[in-house]
């Protein structure tokens, strides 16, 4: 039996991998829903404003990533907080990650179930997705991070398919009017929150710092990632305004996919099926990264960081995750009102974590530094 090395830290990755990871984490599930929640054309400015805030946040995060504590990885955290505190924070992080991937997986699952396999028992889809993710994750953190390149190449070009929607007769300029907010309601605030939480994702880089090369100019790559996600959001939102008009947009739950349904190629009429399948790459990537994070976090909580990761432990993580998904899917997600509740929690949580994590870490590092000096 060869040694089972999930967390092999021998090779470090360039900042370009951070670019791929951050961009894809920002384009995870929530962007499917985004136009439905934004509705009004003036929300274009909302996306731009949130992009600027997100950029500021990224600056903070990068400052921390370049600090001495970040370079030491786990040991850095221990120095910063002390073992007991680290375990507590890891526990909180574990729960946050668990909620995030549950919502994302079940969200994607709903898309697959609605568009591709309406008559299939949805638990089977969970099973197949998790099986794939477990396989990817079992190849170790190193390979999973490498996998992001494939994921990016598989999914990125889909954005270009939306260009036909910018051409008349589907598009008419008056679909974008009015461009200034005429009535500002609580829904508009919710829209802003949704944009903000869609931008969240870069904060999970702190789970991956042992694998990213220190002394990298991270801020450059993260800025590019942020800018790319922004342009994708804008493109999709404006395209869906052209396609549906802002009156009908709220009626369609997954406008992004319904737009793809309208495109037809002579070869494949159901283009949406192919594209949804390609989007699964992102899902599998996210699940496998987070699965490894969960396993790592459990080891920290159980004080087993010094021992080798075991196959058994990993398998148990996978199975627990599967059970968690199935339980939530059958008892919570399938009830219509509850689903919005879980999704709302996720939107709030990821908004909060994205806001707090970089500031909190940087502040603490500065304080520690001052105490030492």
């Amino acid at each position: 039996m060869t040694t089972f090395s999930l967390f092999d830290k021998s090779s470090k990755f360039d900042g370009i991998y951070a670019f791929f990871i951050v961009n894809r984490f920002q384009m995870l599930y929530l962007f499917f829903l985004m136009p439905t929640y934004l509705l009004h054309p003036f929300m274009i400015w909302g996306i731009v404003a949130m992009a600027i805030f997100s950029q500021l946040n990224i600056k903070l995060l990068c400052k921390w990533l370049e600090s001495n504590y970040a370079k030491k990885g786990y040991q850095g955290f221990v120095e910063l907080f002390g073992v007991r505190m680290v375990r507590l924070l890891t526990f909180i992080g574990l729960i946050l990650i668990l909620i995030k991937i549950t919502v994302i997986t079940l969200g994607y699952l709903e898309v697959i179930h609605d568009f591709i396999f309406p008559s299939m028992n949805s638990n089977w889809i969970i099973f197949f997705i998790l099986l794939t993710s477990s396989y990817v994750a079992s190849l170790g953190m190193k390979n999973t991070i490498r996998f992001v390149v494939i994921v990016f190449l598989c999914v990125f070009w889909i954005i270009f398919l939306y260009f036909p929607f910018f051409i008349p007769p589907i598009a008419a300029l008056h679909d974008l009017y009015p461009l200034i907010p005429t009535n500002w309601t609580t829904d508009s605030w919710k829209g802003l929150l949704l944009i903000w939480s869609s931008y969240s994702g870069p904060e999970y880089l702190i789970c991956l710092i042992p694998w990213i090369k220190p002394q990298q100019k991270m801020s450059k790559y993260l800025t590019y990632a942020n800018a790319l996600s922004t342009s994708e959001y804008l493109l999709l939102f404006i395209a869906s305004l052209f396609f549906f008009g802002s009156n009908y947009l709220s009626k369609s739950k997954y406008p992004i996919i319904h737009m793809i349904r309208y495109l037809q190629s002579p070869m494949f009429e159901r283009l949406d099926i192919i594209l949804i399948s390609l989007h699964m790459f992102v899902l599998v990537f996210a699940i496998s990264i987070f699965m490894l994070c969960i396993y790592g976090a459990t080891r920290i909580i159980l004080k087993k960081t010094s021992t080798q990761p075991s196959r058994m432990g990993f398998a148990v993580t996978c199975i627990m995750l599967f059970l968690c998904f199935v339980i939530v899917n059958n008892w919570i997600w399938s009830i219509e009102t509850e689903q919005n509740f879980l999704l709302n929690i996720q939107i709030w949580l990821s908004g909060i974590t994205y806001f707090i994590v970089p500031t909190f870490l940087l502040l603490l590092t500065k304080l520690k530094g001052r105490v030492k000096a």
Partner: protein
């Protein structure tokens, strides 16, 4: 030890499979067992029911037969067709949805909603209003003509907007978008069935989801120029003994601030295709005269058409969208329709054309 582990893994696997249920695939899509449907035709049945029919089998070398049913609900019809036919009918290839005029006058909102919620139905499916007995026509014609349903679809596809036809062709998505937006009313093409003919008749105007008026011949052609295609291959004006062809229009709509006057400027480019009147069209002056006459004629007809829309309180030309601007609050649909009803109209035509070539004048 090894064995125990293997057993454990198998145990987990089997229980994992058992938890969610059994075989993952429920629907059987073996190609030999299914028959895709190309059209559904809907008309008013007896006692408030809908009469629904479709032609089976499509694109297979078997004699075709028309299935007809009386149902309460659209999807119920989809189900009941299966009970009548040995293959399972699938709606994934539904290309045409023909609605009888009588039914359309009552409103088709529910039907449209049903079609929109079905992910198997393409948003590009054409909607068509039919006058006359379509079932009879299909029954008679299907024996003479193979793949009739497919050819009907090809015909609509040929005249679709980008291919610059002369018909109003509307698909589900376009219809829905106009139906649900406050400043425009949907239109649909009307086809008449008479004996062995299936002819395009004109454009039907809808107020909300109800058909209220059909415009035909000249009025329909003006509608094509103003809003639908902005192109006509032939535009015969029998009153002036002239056919203008390759007409391309540029329409400029100008609304005044307090919504009391709408000015519509239309620039037309084309050429005379045929002339049987007694002017010498090779002579510049007389050509100008003819041009003026045509302009006046078009202005009059267009004003009449728009007045008709105003009386019916419909806005298929989407003039209401011109009230929108980037920096002001949009007015409500009610305010717009009230203003539209009373608005004054000014129509200006500017015609540029080349005269007939290779001709010897009579005079």
């Amino acid at each position: 030890m090894r064995r125990k582990k293997m057993l454990l893994v198998w145990g987990i696997f089997v229980s994992l499979v058992m938890i969610p249920g059994c075989a993952p695939f429920v629907e059987n899509n073996t190609i030999e067992d299914i028959a895709p449907v190309t059209f559904w035709s809907i008309s008013k049945g007896e006692k408030g029911k809908i009469k629904m029919s479709t032609l089976v089998p499509p694109l297979v070398n078997e004699p075709k037969s028309l299935l007809t049913l009386d149902v309460d609900l659209l999807k119920q019809g989809g189900k009941d067709f299966n009970l009548r036919y040995y293959r399972e009918l699938k709606v994934g290839q539904l290309r045409l949805f023909l609605i009888h005029e009588e039914l359309a006058k009552q409103g088709i909102f529910q039907l449209i909603n049903t079609l929109l919620t079905d992910y198997d139905v393409s948003q590009r499916m054409y909607l068509v209003i039919v006058k006359g007995n379509f079932d009879e026509y299909i029954n008679r014609q299907a024996k003479k003509q193979e793949n009739l349903d497919y050819y009907l679809y090809r015909m609509l596809k040929h005249y679709e907007r980008k291919k610059q036809g002369e018909m109003t062709i509307v698909n589900l998505h376009e219809y829905k978008n106009k139906l649900f937006s406050p400043f425009s009313d949907p239109v649909l093409p009307v086809f008449t069935v008479a004996k062995d003919n299936f002819t395009y008749e004109g454009t039907a105007f809808f107020s909300n989801d109800k058909l209220i008026e059909t415009v035909t011949s000249t009025e329909d052609q003006i509608f094509q120029l103003l809003d639908n295609d902005h192109y006509l291959k032939f535009f015969p004006i029998p009153k002036l003994d002239v056919v203008i062809g390759r007409l391309r229009s540029r329409v400029n709509v100008d609304l005044d601030k307090n919504l009391s006057l709408v000015t519509i400027n239309v620039k037309l480019n084309g050429r005379i295709e045929e002339y049987q009147g007694n002017k010498n069209i090779l002579n510049g002056n007389e050509l100008m005269q003819l041009q003026k006459e045509i302009e006046t004629e078009l202005e009059m007809k267009t004003t009449d058409l728009i007045k008709k829309m105003q009386e019916l309180k419909v806005d298929p030309l989407q003039i209401g969208t011109h009230t929108l601007s980037p920096f002001s609050k949009p007015i409500s649909e009610k305010v717009w329709l009230a203003a539209w009803g009373k608005m004054k109209i000014k129509v200006n035509y500017q015609l540029y054309f080349e005269a007939l070539q290779n001709t010897k004048n009579n005079y």
